[in-house]
C-alpha cells in the first residue's frame, strides 16, 4: 500500500477504535469475513512493518539504517490506542520515536504539542483527561525530563488520573553517545516515579513494547485510574524492525477492563444502614469518574433524601440541588457514607494547628456512634512510601471498590431496604433539606456582598463578574489555582460534570496553568468555553505553557487571582513567629520574607502578551472589571487565549 494511502487508512482505523473493540487493519476481503466473526485478540502490524519483516532491506525505501525503524512500529502500536495528543518537551533520548510520530505517523493521533516544561506536559494531560475521559501520552528525557515531570505525575497519581509517560533512555553503555547523553541515562529511570505510578516497564524488544504499551494503557484506564511509565530504550527506537524469534510482530488488541464493583453482601449491609438511618449524609470526592456518576448520585440521594457534601475533586453532585450541603452537614449525621474520599479521617475529624507545645490538636466533627461506610477504589492501590493514603480511619462497612460502578446495585438495594414505615420521615427529611439549602444560599450570597466594592477586588466579586461574562455560554471551569474562598463552587450554578474539574490532587503548586490548557484543549474540540481562575504563584512555576496554548490555538479565558503572594504559606510562618513571640520580619513587604510576590509586581498581562495571548491589566478597581472581561470573552470566542490580570484580595 502506498504510504499516503496507508496513512488515510490508519486514520479511519484509529477513529473507529476509540474505546472498545478494535478493527484490525485487514484487507478488504478479510474485513467482510471479520464482520461475522469474533475480533482477533491480536492485530497484525501495519503494512510498513510487515514489509520490513518479509522483504529484504534492499527492497525497501533506501535509508541508512537498512530497514524500517523500530519506532515506526511503535507508532503503529500507539495509533491503535486512539491517543489524540502528545504534549512533550523535545529530547534526544526519544528522537527516534519523535521523528516517527511527526513524519511516519503524520503528526496525527497523536499530534505532538510543543511544551516548554515536562511538568507542563504531564499536567496538560491531567487536565485533558478530566474533560475528555481519555488519557494522553507524553514523552520525556528519562532522567532530567522525568525529574521535571515528576511533580505533575505525583499530582496525577493523587488525583487518580491516567497518563502514559514514556521516557527515553539510552541503556547500552557501550554504544550510547558519551558526555551529555550519558549524564541523561540511567539503569532504571522508572525507579524515580515507581512510588506514584500504577505500573511501569522497560521493554527490550519491539514485541515487548507492543505488549507493554497496550498493557500500560489498560492498567492506566482501569479504575482506580493512575499514571503509568514506560522506559523506552533509544537503541530500540532506532534499530530496524526484525522478526521476533521468527514470529511476526503483532499488536495486542486493547479491551477495557470492567471496574471493580462492591461485594454484594457489603452493598446490602450498607443499604440497610442508609435506609434505616435517621439522618444519613453522603460525602463524595472523586466519585463521579464520568458524567453518569453524577446522575447516579442524584438518584441515590433522592431515594434517601440524604444530603450530599461534594468535596469537589470532581463535580459529583449539582450544587444547585436542594440536597447539596456544606461540609458541616456531617455533624448531625447518624450514618455517613464516603465515596472515593481521599481523606476520610479529615471528614469526620478536625485538626487544629494550635495545640500545646506546637503540636496540633485533634477533635471529632461527628456524634459518637455514627456509622461509617466507605466505597473507595484507592484501597486497591495503596503503596507505602508516599503518604497520600492519609490517617487511618476505622470504617464500619468498607468496600475496596469503584464507587461509580457500585452505585447501580446500591441504589436498588437501598430502594428495597427502605421500610414502608420510614417513607414519611424520609419525605420530611427532604423538606428540611430544601429549607436548609435555601437558607445556606442566602447566607452565602450575603457573605459574598462583604467587601463587594473593595480595591483590590474581592474574590467573590472576581468570581461573579467572571460568571456574568460567560453565563450564556457552555462554560467549563478548567482550573482554579490558589484560594478564592471556594466562591466558584459556592456561587456558580455548577450542575454538569464538565462545569468543575477539581484540583491538582497532590497539591503540588504549578498544576493550575498547564492543567487548564490541557482541559481547554479538550473543550476546544467539543466547542466549549473554558474559564480558568489563575493564581499568580501557580503561573510562575512554568509560564511557558502560555506559549504552548497560543502556539496550538487553545483558547481559554484566564482571570488572574493576583494576590501578589504565596498566601498558603504566609500563615505558616506567622503562626510559628507568634508561637515563639517574635514579630515576623516582613522585609518591607506585606507578609513574612519569602512569602510575597511584590516589589517588583509581576505584569502578568505583559507576560501573556509576549507569548501570543490577548491580555489586559492590571485591574485593581471592581468597576473596571466587567468591560475587560466582556472584551476578553469575545477574543476567546475567536479562538485566541485571553488573560485579564486582576489584583485581588488575599482570598
Amino acid at each position: 500500500m502506498a504510504r499516503k494511502d496507508r496513512r488515510r487508512f490508519l486514520t479511519g482505523f484509529v477513529a473507529a477504535s476509540a474505546a472498545t473493540a478494535i478493527t484490525p487493519p485487514l484487507a478488504r476481503g478479510q474485513e467482510e469475513v471479520a464482520q461475522n466473526t469474533r475480533p482477533p485478540s491480536a492485530l497484525p502490524p501495519g503494512a510498513h512493518t510487515a514489509a520490513a519483516e518479509t522483504q529484504t532491506p534492499g527492497e525497501l525505501a533506501p535509508n541508512r539504517i537498512g530497514g524500517v525503524p523500530g519506532s515506526d512500529f511503535m507508532v503503529d502500536v500507539i495509533k491503535t490506542l486512539g491517543i489524540k495528543y502528545c504534549p512533550a518537551n523535545c529530547a534526544s533520548s526519544y528522537r527516534g520515536i519523535h521523528e516517527s510520530l511527526i513524519n511516519y505517523g503524520g503528526n496525527k493521533m497523536p499530534e505532538f504539542l510543543t511544551c516548554m516544561h515536562e511538568e507542563s506536559a504531564v499536567a496538560m494531560g491531567h487536565g485533558y483527561f478530566k474533560i475528555s475521559g481519555k488519557p494522553l501520552m507524553t514523552l520525556c528525557h528519562g532522567t532530567v525530563g522525568l525529574q521535571h515531570a515528576s511533580m505533575a505525575i505525583y499530582n496525577a497519581w493523587c488525583d487518580r488520573v491516567p497518563m502514559i509517560v514514556v521516557g527515553g533512555n539510552d541503556l547500552d553503555a557501550a554504544t550510547r553517545p558519551p558526555s551529555v547523553p550519558t549524564f541523561h541515562a540511567a539503569q532504571d529511570i522508572n525507579a524515580l516515579v515507581r512510588d506514584f505510578t500504577k505500573w511501569d516497564d522497560t521493554p527490550v524488544s519491539l514485541q515487548h513494547f507492543a505488549q507493554s504499551m497496550v498493557r500500560a494503557y489498560k492498567i492506566a484506564m482501569t479504575p482506580p485510574y493512575g499514571p503509568v511509565m514506560i522506559s523506552l530504550d533509544a537503541g530500540l527506537q532506532q534499530e530496524p524492525v526484525k522478526t521476533h524469534g521468527g514470529d511476526k510482530l503483532y499488536i495486542p488488541r486493547y479491551v477495557p477492563t470492567a471496574p471493580p464493583a462492591g461485594d454484594g453482601g457489603a452493598v446490602k449491609e450498607a443499604a440497610k444502614l442508609l435506609a434505616e438511618a435517621q439522618n444519613p449524609v453522603i460525602v463524595a470526592d472523586r466519585m463521579a469518574r464520568t458524567p453518569n456518576g453524577l446522575k447516579l448520585l442524584v438518584q441515590l440521594a433522592e431515594a434517601l433524601q440524604a444530603r450530599v457534601v461534594d468535596q469537589g475533586s470532581r463535580t459529583n453532585f449539582p450544587r444547585t440541588h436542594y440536597l447539596s450541603a456544606p461540609p458541616s452537614a456531617v455533624s448531625g449525621a447518624d450514618v455517613i457514607m464516603g465515596l472515593e474520599l481521599a481523606d476520610f479521617w479529615n471528614v469526620v475529624n478536625s485538626w487544629t494547628d494550635n495545640g500545646e507545645h506546637g503540636v496540633g490538636r485533634n477533635s471529632s466533627r461527628i456524634k459518637q456512634g455514627t456509622k461509617l461506610i466507605s466505597i473507595n477504589a484507592s484501597d486497591l492501590i495503596t503503596k507505602s512510601n508516599y503518604q497520600d493514603f492519609q490517617r487511618f480511619q476505622v470504617i464500619d462497612v468498607q468496600m475496596a471498590a469503584d464507587a461509580e460502578a457500585t452505585l447501580p446495585a446500591l441504589i436498588e438495594a437501598v430502594k428495597s431496604a427502605i421500610p414502608a414505615a420510614k417513607r414519611s420521615a424520609i419525605t420530611q427529611r427532604g423538606e428540611a433539606a430544601k429549607k436548609a439549602h435555601a437558607d445556606d444560599h442566602a447566607r452565602t450570597r450575603q457573605a459574598a456582598a462583604l467587601a463587594w466594592d473593595a480595591s483590590p477586588i474581592s474574590t467573590a466579586r472576581l468570581c461573579m463578574e467572571t460568571y456574568n461574562a460567560v453565563k450564556g455560554l457552555d462554560w467549563s471551569i478548567v482550573s482554579q489555582s490558589g484560594n478564592v474562598s471556594n466562591w466558584l463552587t459556592r456561587l456558580w450554578p455548577i450542575e454538569q460534570h464538565h462545569h468543575w474539574l477539581g484540583r491538582s490532587g497532590g497539591y503540588g503548586v504549578g498544576y493550575g496553568a498547564p492543567a487548564s490548557v490541557g482541559a481547554a484543549l479538550a473543550n476546544r474540540d467539543l466547542g466549549r468555553f473554558s474559564v480558568n481562575i489563575q493564581a499568580d504563584g501557580d503561573l510562575m512555576y512554568a509560564p511557558g505553557v502560555l506559549w504552548t496554548a497560543a502556539k496550538h490555538k487553545i483558547p481559554q479565558l484566564a482571570v488572574m487571582h493576583n494576590n501578589r503572594g504565596y498566601h498558603q504559606e504566609v500563615m505558616h510562618v506567622q503562626r510559628l513567629a507568634n508561637f515563639r513571640s517574635r514579630a515576623s520580619n516582613y522585609g518591607g513587604d506585606l507578609g513574612p520574607v519569602g512569602t510575597r510576590i511584590e516589589n517588583p509586581d509581576i505584569e502578568y498581562h505583559k507576560l501573556a502578551e509576549s507569548m501570543g495571548w490577548w491580555a489586559r491589566g492590571p485591574i485593581k478597581e471592581a468597576s473596571q472589571l466587567a468591560s475587560a472581561l466582556r472584551e476578553a470573552v469575545k477574543v476567546v470566542q475567536s479562538g485566541t487565549p485571553a488573560l485579564v490580570n486582576v489584583w485581588t484580595q488575599p482570598r
Binding site: S458, R461, N486, A583, G591
Partner: protein, 110 residues
C-alpha cells in the same frame, strides 16, 4: 477547654480600649501585622479566616480571643502586637460600614 475558661475569666479583667483608639492607625496595624492575610483588607473573612467586620465582636471578647486563641488563629502576644495597636485595629473594624443587602446587587441576586 482550660484555655477557653481562662479566656472568659479574663474578659472581666481587661480594660475597654483607650478612647484614643484610632481607626486610621488601626488599618495600618491591621495590614502591618498580617491580619488582612486571612481576614481580608475589610475584615470580610474567607476560607482562611472568619468575618471580622462589619459589627466586630465587643473589644473585651476580641482582646481575649486575640491574646489566647486556641482555634485556627494563633494567639498574638503583646510582644508582637501591642495593646494600643490592638485597640486601634478594633476601632478600624468598627469603622467598616455594613455590606449592602445582596438582593440589591444584581450579580448576586440573579
Amino acid at each position: 477547654m482550660r484555655l477557653r475558661l481562662i479566656a472568659f475569666t479574663l474578659i472581666g479583667l481587661v480594660a475597654a480600649p483607650a478612647l484614643a483608639a484610632d481607626a486610621a492607625k488601626g488599618k495600618s496595624a491591621f495590614m502591618k501585622n498580617g491580619c488582612w492575610q486571612c481576614h481580608g483588607e475589610l475584615g470580610q473573612g474567607g476560607a482562611a479566616g472568619k468575618t471580622l467586620a462589619p459589627k466586630p465582636m465587643p473589644f473585651e471578647a476580641f482582646n481575649v480571643f486575640v491574646r489566647n486563641s486556641n482555634g485556627q488563629m494563633p494567639p498574638y502576644p503583646k510582644e508582637i502586637l501591642s495593646d494600643a495597636d490592638l485597640a486601634d485595629i478594633h476601632a478600624y473594624l468598627q469603622s467598616i460600614p455594613a455590606a449592602k443587602d445582596y438582593k440589591s446587587i444584581p450579580l448576586l441576586s440573579q
